[in-house]
């Protein structure tokens, strides 16, 4: 075994309890406690074996991380990527000791500093100087250590003139710069960073990246870095870890992991069909198919911005007497949730479904979506009873393109080039002259 291992993670798992905590939870807590008293396994942790968040399982427990094993060498800069909900944040939280794992262990060498957020504990009434000390101490620095680095921190943040002004009078840019400056001057062998670079102006972001690169390459520090900003990962992480549904899909050189991530993330079809019973769902309802269709009800992958788009869902009800709501989630390729839609104005919204097969289509008007990839998720649920029969993200995807049609009015009008915005609706402009 190599002696250079800085962090070693063994069989790490983390379970979360879903749903509301209320009067019902206390009986369950007592049940768990009774089971533990008799030396038995926790009855509620046994069931939810699958860590797939998209389908409903029998229990309320979901495994955010399941049996993770890896080692990180000293001086390595490792990026952690994965979709929303893949377990990235959970992993960082456990590594930062903010929350404890459900099973497994982590061992490591050297002082560990984690930045899940910059400016934690900043008090608006206190001056910049006072906040540097407070924030530094929260991050684990001793007072004299901060004293020694004070000039460097102030210089890095560029706030000399405002050092004795309460931070509530700072501009948001100054605030972030100061917060990051404190964090960047932490002396630790291991640094854990989450998304913090998504803030500040472009120039400062570059400066931060430079500072962090210095940290990992120059001083032999180990860095774990989570970000959606792929460019920054390529910039200074030599290795990368891809998480998917709480498991490690791949650990390798950054380039090959990024390639794999893009493949899995973007190879989503515009329709999916299942034989009865093999689709997502539970014993009450199963999904049979979901398709993107055009006005003539033909399956289609590519739509013009002016086209009407139908999302057709076919599902089979296996048990009667249930109110089943359906919903669709629409995301762009950067995982921005564009909008959600529920079947509120349909006949079956608040009606009990009999056993049988149903087909429903949600129509998105033309001149509403903007160009790009739209990734769609589907759910069948009962919000009132907190039941989710199925919820599958990234189930189908479509492409919206602008054919620059002239025969039909488009929201672009006569402008050219990229049309900004997540959506591109054609609005009704009224005038009073």
């Amino acid at each position: 075994m190599s002696n250079n291992v800085a962090i070693k993670v063994e069989n790490l798992s983390k379970a979360y309890q879903l749903g509301q905590i209320g009067t019902g939870t206390i009986s369950r807590d007592l049940e768990r406690w009774y089971a533990r008293m008799r030396g038995k396994e926790d009855p509620f942790l046994q069931i939810g074996e699958s860590n797939n968040q998209h389908t409903k399982s029998e229990s309320d427990v979901v495994w955010s991380l399941k049996d993770i094993n890896f080692e990180i060498e000293q001086g390595d800069a490792v990026g952690i990527i994965g979709r929303n909900g893949a377990g990235k944040s959970t992993l960082l939280k456990i590594l930062s000791k903010v929350t404890a794992p459900t099973t497994g262990r982590i061992s490591g060498k050297g002082r560990i500093a984690s930045l899940l957020e910059v400016g934690t504990g900043f008090h608006p009434e206190l001056s910049g100087r006072e906040n540097i000390f407070l924030n530094g101490a929260i991050l684990g620095m001793r007072k004299r250590e901060i004293q020694r680095k004070l000039d460097e921190i102030v210089d890095f943040a560029g706030i000399e003139r405002y050092l004795d002004t309460p931070v509530k009078r700072y501009s948001s840019g100054m605030y972030v710069r100061l917060a990051f400056a404190v964090a960047a001057h932490l002396e630790s062998e291991i640094l854990i960073v989450d998304e913090v670079l998504a803030v500040g102006d472009a120039e400062f972001q570059k400066k931060c990246l430079g500072k962090m690169g210095e940290v990992s390459k120059g001083e032999g520090r180990t860095v774990l870095f989570v970000s959606h900003n792929m460019k920054s990962i390529v910039g200074f992480c030599n290795n990368c870890m891809l998480l998917n549904n709480g498991k490690i899909e791949m650990i390798n050189k950054t380039e090959s992991v990024l390639r794999k991530y893009e493949e899995t993330n973007f190879k989503i079809n515009h329709y999916q069909e299942w034989h009865s019973n093999s689709g997502p769902g539970d014993h009450i309802v199963k999904l049979l198919s979901i398709k993107a269709i055009d006005e003539n009800k033909n399956k289609n992958r590519e739509f013009d911005v002016t086209d009407k788009i139908g999302i057709e869902i076919q599902y089979e009800v296996l048990e009667s007497n249930h109110i089943l709501w359906h919903g669709l989630n629409f995301y762009d390729e950067f995982e921005n949730n564009l909008f959600d839609s529920h079947n509120v104005n349909s006949k079956w919204y608040n009606e009990i479904h009999p056993i049988g097969t149903f087909t429903t289509t949600a129509w998105i008007p033309g001149n509403f979506l903007n160009e790009g990839k739209i990734i769609i998720g589907v759910a069948i649920f009962n919000h009132k009873r907190h039941e989710i029969h199925l919820h599958t993200k990234n189930i189908i995807a479509i492409n919206i393109i602008d054919k620059l049609r002239t025969d039909i009015i488009s929201a672009r009008g006569l402008t050219t080039g990229k049309f900004a915005g997540l959506l591109r609706p054609l609005l009704n402009w009224t005038y009073e002259k």
Partner: protein, 285 residues
């Protein structure tokens, strides 16, 4: 496993109940002082009267108590000047009550920080107890000023030897508030019900403590129910406080030992429960 000694730290799913991490708390002592400073400074920033506000609350409460309980209801004060009697009770009681109520919401109040960065969680309740101590110190000053005033007017009170127990009393009040507060804070991370109870529970508890009446009076008027007041660990603390500073009050080593025993027990269980809950509370709060 065979290379275990190579690593300087481990994070495990299960931790010992009694691993209270005192060395870690010591390592973060600077944070404790900075948090106390923050509480103190942010309290009077942008106010005109500044730290004088620490005086105003006990002063007005004393005036109101003197009018209502002393004059209107005519409750005996063991022959002591009424304002002095109430001020003694209020100063001591406030310290305990502030420690208890602030500690009992420590997880909820600091969920933002606790969810983002790790430091020994016990630092937070400790900082509450210490910053309230600063406040208590300022209020003691007011109490002593009042004593000096009454001394020159020749009011019938005298300091007794029990004043030397003052440090013990302060520590007892701090630890009692801390212990009970930690138990409540740990229990409210999942079930918020207790939090509602604390706010008015503390108010009610004041009436079951000898803040506005002397213990001797309660024993005389309600001999059948006075045990409730006697078993309240805050009663011997406040009685000793009054006996030490003003020379009136029911002091006994037995009841003080009882208060010490209760405090130690609550503190011990408080630390253990707090320590257990802090590991996972972020998931439920």
């Amino acid at each position: 496993m065979e290379h275990k000694e190579e690593y300087s730290w481990t994070i495990e799913a299960k931790a010992s109940l009694f691993d209270l991490k005192f060395s870690e708390i010591w390592a973060y002592r600077d944070l404790l002082w900075l948090l106390v400073r923050r509480d103190f400074v942010s309290f009077y920033k942008q106010t005109i009267l500044g730290p004088l506000w620490f005086f105003i609350q006990p002063l007005f409460t004393t005036i109101i108590f003197t009018f209502i309980f002393g004059n209107l209801a005519g409750i005996s004060t063991d022959g002591l000047p009424k304002p002095l009697f109430y001020m003694a009770g209020i100063t001591a009681w406030n310290y305990f009550a502030d420690c208890l109520t602030k500690t009992s919401t420590v997880f909820k109040d600091n969920a933002g920080i606790f969810g983002k960065v790790y430091f020994p969680r016990l630092i937070m309740p400790l900082s509450i107890v210490v910053s309230n101590l600063v406040r208590f110190g300022v209020q003691m000053l007011l109490f002593i000023l009042m004593m000096v005033y009454y001394y020159f007017t020749g009011a019938p009170f005298h300091i007794t030897w029990a004043i030397s127990l003052f440090p013990v009393i302060v520590i007892l009040m701090a630890l009692l508030g801390l212990g009970a507060g930690m138990i409540i804070s740990a229990m409210t991370t999942k079930y918020r019900d207790l939090a509602f109870l604390v706010t008015f529970g503390v108010q009610l508890l004041m009436y079951a403590t000898t803040v506005i009446y002397p213990l001797s009076e309660a024993l005389k008027k309600y001999p059948a129910y006075a045990w409730i007041i006697q078993y309240n660990p805050m009663t011997p603390i406040i009685e000793t406080f009054r006996y030490g500073f003003l020379g009136e009050g029911t002091f006994s080593w037995g009841s003080l030992s009882y208060a010490i025993a209760i405090t130690t027990t609550l503190l011990f269980f408080g630390m253990i429960i707090f320590n257990k809950v802090e590991r996972n509370f972020v998931d439920t709060v």
